[in-house]
């Protein structure tokens, strides 16, 4: 775990750049992480997913899987991949300032 500076804020991140302490997050940090990961602008649809991820994590301690995102966030899986190319669940978690989702076993 290391400290780093994102959008002028000191935050704790893991080796892959996921915030390890969700309380250090803010919207500027989200926008910066998004830009660093090839999402140039966070639209309302992006925010819908990011906030859903974050709220769910803070309430339950686990981040939703891509499947639950598709079922519950109101954004279908195909669109999730357009919004967050490659790995929507991971990228939305990163932007939302929550730890990297663990694949369940």
């Amino acid at each position: 775990m290391t400290m780093t500076l994102i959008a002028d804020a000191q935050v704790d991140v893991d080796a892959e750049g996921f915030l390890t302490n969700p309380e250090q997050w803010n919207e500027q940090i989200a926008a910066q992480i998004a830009r660093d990961n090839a999402v140039s602008e966070l639209t309302d649809r992006h925010w819908l997913v990011v906030r859903f991820m974050r709220d769910r994590y803070l309430a339950s301690g686990t981040a939703p899987s891509i499947r639950s995102l598709g079922k519950e966030s109101g954004v279908p899986i195909k669109e999730l991949y357009q919004l967050f190319p490659k790995g929507p669940a991971k990228l939305a978690a990163k932007i939302g300032g929550i730890p990297k989702p663990k694949g369940c076993i």
């Binding site: 891509i66 499947r67 899986i77 991949y81 490659k86 663990k102 369940c104 076993i105």
Partner: protein, 416 residues
């Protein structure tokens, strides 16, 4: 005092074992125990893996559910229509109403191949198969017999699935089978997974990826299958990647039993039942418990897990009735043999906090962990006998308790 009513939904591994254990803990005049299942076919699910290769027959692995119950249980062969959490009762499809003092949800998961676009369309059960159902496994046996080389793709659509190691075992056994038949050189074997490695836990994942490479199975990671063209032989991922196949072995999406979604307050969006990790009491209501694949617990959906959970669950039903504090000792213990072909197998043993490690099980002089051996293969074969004759009847297996043993394991720092 009126007899306690205990209703168990599901007569599979968890339901049968729990019904039999509770029958021993309570006298017939203390508690009436009902078990509900929609059919009378108890499948020894670990056996399904062997059916496609002709190494097991369906007749051997399917037995009547009724025959696995102790005397003094009431079995209802019927679908569950709905559970009323508020009214403490279960309604069955034929209109029967079963009021309960304690409900145990043990209905496992159902396969949902229709949730993936095109999966059950043209080509389904012709060049697209799953070995996760008896019929699918039998169909795949025929398809493998007719298979004469080409691209064989094994794909798990998304977690969670039952027995997360089974798709890997299928790839290992397919490699062996194809070599025996002399057509391995003209077969490309591909393993496509949504995970970022062969398996979820780092040390085991590395071992298993090494085995795939050794057996010349191509590993494709972070592949989230979204679409299947069973006629054209194409498996498409949401990110735009395509995999061509001549034969596709799919592990479809899993969800909870259909009635869970119909019953307000019982399950989550995928039909799994939110359950306390340590006590197995659900969050739905204090008199509702769950075990096995039906729960949302962050551990493997596997018979071994259900078995270990069962001991804690049974104790907690007794404590619940006695008004005592629940036992919160379930640690997420799971234990799986992984068939690797050529009469060998690996064994992994882990829990919520400890990932699968090398060493020996259950103590330093037991079966080798995370290493291929003939002994593990024999263990896997022998386990079927243990399942029918010790596990389901609810007998203890000497030397194997619910908590994960640590003594035989080599603890090395986990890479973070």
């Amino acid at each position: 005092m009126a007899r306690k009513q205990i209703v168990i939904l599901g007569g599979g591994t968890g339901g049968t074992m729990t019904a039999n254990r509770l029958r021993r803990r309570f006298d017939p005049d203390e508690a009436e125990i009902h078990v509900v299942d929609r059919d009378d076919r108890h499948v020894y699910q670990p056996g399904l893996l062997f059916v496609p290769f002709g190494l097991a027959q369906l007749e051997e692995i399917v037995r009547p559910r009724r025959r696995q119950f102790r005397n003094g249980l009431v079995f209802h062969e019927n679908e569950v229509d709905e559970v009323s959490i508020e009214g403490d009762e279960v309604r069955l499809d034929d209109g029967t109403v079963l009021p309960y003092d304690v409900l145990i949800v043990a209905t496992g998961v159902q396969l949902q191949p229709e949730e993936t676009e095109g999966l059950t369309g043209p080509g389904w059960n012709e060049r697209v198969f799953t070995f996760y159902s008896p019929e699918g496994a039998e169909g795949l046996r025929g398809a493998l017999e007719r298979f004469d080389g080409g691209r064989l793709v094994v794909n798990l659509v998304d977690m969670p699935i039952k027995c997360p190691v089974a798709p890997l075992e299928f790839a290992f056994l397919a490699d062996w089978y194809l070599r025996e038949r002399g057509i391995r050189t003209r077969t490309e074997l591909v393993y496509a997974t949504p995970l970022d490695g062969a398996f979820t836990k780092p040390i085991a994942s590395e071992h298993l990826a090494g085995l795939l490479a050794e057996k010349e199975v191509e590993l494709v990671t972070e592949f989230n299958a979204g679409e299947v063209d069973g006629v054209g032989g194409k498996l498409g991922a949401y990110d735009g990647r395509d995999l061509d196949f001549d034969l596709l072995v799919t592990i479809p999406l899993h969800g909870g039993a259909a009635y869970v979604e119909r019953s307000p307050g019982l399950g989550d969006a995928l039909g799994f039942v939110p359950t306390d990790k340590q006590t197995l009491q659900t969050t739905a209501k204090p008199n509702v418990f769950a075990l096995g694949d039906a729960t949302d617990l962050p551990t493997s959906k596997a018979g071994s897990v259900t078995h270990f959970e069962g001991e804690v669950l049974t104790e907690n039903i007794v404590r619940y009735f006695a008004g005592k504090e629940l036992d919160s000792s379930y640690d997420g213990h799971a234990n799986c043999f992984i068939e690797t072909g050529f009469h060998k197998a690996l064994l992994i043993d882990f829990n919520y906090d400890t990932e699968p490690l090398p060493g020996h099980f259950p103590t330093a002089v037991g079966l080798p962990l995370l290493r291929e051996s003939r002994l593990n293969h024999l263990g896997k074969l022998m386990f079927q006998w243990v399942y029918w004759h010790a596990l389901l009847p609810g007998r203890e297996i000497p030397g194997i308790g619910p908590a994960m043993p640590s003594t035989g394991k080599k603890h090395t720092p986990v890479p973070t």
